[in-house]
Amino acid sequence: MNMAFKQETFRDDYTYHNSAEAIRRFPFPFAEDEYMYSVNIEQHNGGEPGSVFEHAIDVDEHYVAECEDRRIVLEDDPNRYIALPHMMDAQWDMVELVMESLSRDYPDLFQLTRDGDNWHWINQPLGIDQKFVFGDEATLPMQPCEYITRQVQGDWIILDQRDDDLFADLGMVTSQADWSMAFDAGMSFKEWHGPVPQANELGIFDRALKYLLHLQYGSPVRRLNWTMTINPRLDTSPENYPFWGPDNVSVTPDNVGDKVHLRVELQALFRLPRSNAIAFSVRGYLASINDLTTYPRWAKRLHRVLTNLHPDLSEYKGLDNYRQMVIDHLAPMDDGEELALGTQPE
């Protein structure tokens, strides 16, 4: 992956854009012409070189700009980071997970030296050089989990495991698809999934929860989820809906290819060792319809998935205002050719 970090914005003038390479490695989620929720969980222990699955935590050309966007969100609303008091062990587990993964997988960018509990962390892209004592909160400028999640892309929700359930008791959520950590904090697996249509009836949440309760340290898993976003905006939170809501009605047949973005969430789950908690990372990738249609295979596939989408899912994901416009835009690119199973671009 090309590591020239982009200077770009996810708000106001929206200068975000993808390099050709970033489009090529985009985690296109549709292997078939139809989409329905499923327990699409697979191992997350190293993927193809160059792919977004290669490393436990993917760092790409948008890294610096995404961390900056998170900083802006937190400045305006510190409650996007929520930590219930019994999660301090999990906070340190998070520090270890992120620092170890990044320094192992991107040694030119991040370095970690450990001498017992004396740790030295260097984050070159963000210009951070921090010595601290692992386990001693006072040696970091803020809570450990806030500190480290400001230095990594994607949202992070850390689940406490008790009573055969998972509880969202710690989280950094600044780039979410319309849900609120401040509101959902403390909820159980089924409670925070309450608003999702269809999936509960299909038994998906029962099976997924059972599986996750047995997730093992050293054997992380992942799944993909997706939605659509108008403009390359990361912060589509309910908190700031008044600011991005109007965009939803701004799509026209002329700007649809440029404005409408497919937003794919790479969700990885890691068991944390000291706390027995689970870290859930939600890393969003944005690609405009124009980006995607540089690959005819993706244009055809997306056209079919959107055409066949269950109306409840369309409504829940907030696509109703513009879905037909996207379908109409893609229709001329779909010759009806039969597409083999798979998400590959070509």
């Binding site: 093992q216 340290y217 706390s275």
Partner: protein
């Protein structure tokens, strides 16, 4: 399932029937961190047959240079504990799984009462390390048969100070569970590990005294019982496996080359659950996972501890 290659660094006879093993990673690296109450599954090669037993990690959660497990020699064992006692020496190589925690301290608890019987003390050793580190309020009540069976007593006195209480059966000392439960403030959780009658008694008393179920925690691993030989058919591959009387169904399937999932191998966690397609006899459920209703329905089996009295059992694997 991730596996660690370890080597036995030290073996210590703790009591007449309990041995303590210190394990280090073969490559010299520290072992993974873990949380109090975790266990690992140890694989042993006994005369060419792979045997896997779960053991609690006892050491401090802060020090992962080595892992510590203790094994009580079981008289009627199918060989695992006997092998650990008789064959395993400093230098022996073993394989273990990554730690798994099925007996964690409830972080919302305001006070924690730990009740151990005999070798059931082991999971508490690492839990106490966590409770001390986190500064939580706790008490340990440890009952054992006779003075020479009080494994780790001194170590516990050192770790717990005034928080530990001992009950020696041969001296007529008894833990009065109802009296203990009756005097606990709101927000207390109770944890037990030990012989089955003790675990059952705790659950019963706690229920009768109005304790909510989710304040009562127990760790109960069953060793796979012996039984009659039967045949299992794996529906997806068509493979037929004979389960000998002295082997668990899970072990027999593994030996036949299948890789069924597992975590605890003691009927507690639910990970190994298999759907029963058909059975021309009776399923002998020995697990703590399925509800009585599910056991009666007979649509699932936990092959780590359960078996069948039949000529053929077909499972969806």
């Amino acid at each position: 399932m991730s596996i660690l290659d370890v080597k036995v660094a030290d073996v210590e006879q703790v009591t007449e029937v309990v041995k303590h093993f210190t394990l280090v990673q073969e490559n010299g690296e520290p072992l993974p961190h873990f949380s109090g109450g975790s266990h690992v599954v140890v694989s042993m090669n006994i005369n060419g047959r792979i045997h896997r037993n779960p053991y609690s990690l006892m050491g401090s959660t802060a020090n992962t240079d080595s892992y510590h497990i203790s094994v009580r020699k079981q008289e009627n064992s199918r060989g695992g504990s006997k092998f650990m006692h008789e064959q395993v020496k400093p230098g022996t190589r073993l394989q273990i799984t990554y730690p798994v925690n099925l007996f964690a301290i409830s972080k919302l608890g305001h006070r924690h009462i730990l009740i151990a019987g005999g070798i059931g003390i082991t999971p508490f050793m690492s839990q106490i390390a966590d409770l001390n580190r986190l500064g939580y309020d706790y008490e340990l009540h440890y009952a054992y048969r006779s003075p020479e069976h009080g494994a780790f007593r001194e170590q516990l006195e050192e770790m717990c100070g005034k928080r530990v209480h001992f009950y020696i059966d041969s001296k007529g000392e008894r833990l009065d569970i109802p009296a203990l439960l009756k005097q606990q403030p709101l927000g207390t959780h109770v944890y037990t590990c030990g012989p089955e009658p003790m675990v059952k008694a705790l659950h019963l008393h706690a229920e009768n005294l109005g304790w909510p179920e989710n304040h009562v925690h127990s760790e109960e691993f069953t060793a796979p019982p012996v039984g009659d030989e039967f045949t299992v058919e794996l529906a997806q591959s068509g493979i037929e496996v004979t389960v000998p009387g002295d082997m668990s169904m899970l072990e027999a399937m593994e030996e036949a080359g299948a890789e069924p999932p597992f975590l605890c191998r003691g009927g507690a966690c639910g990970r190994c659950e298999l759907e029963v397609v058909s059975c021309d006899g009776l399923i002998m459920h020995n697990d703590h996972y399925l509800s009585d209703h599910e056991k009666a329905e007979g649509r699932s089996i936990m092959p780590c501890v359960s078996r069948a009295k039949c000529s053929k059992l077909v499972v969806n694997l």
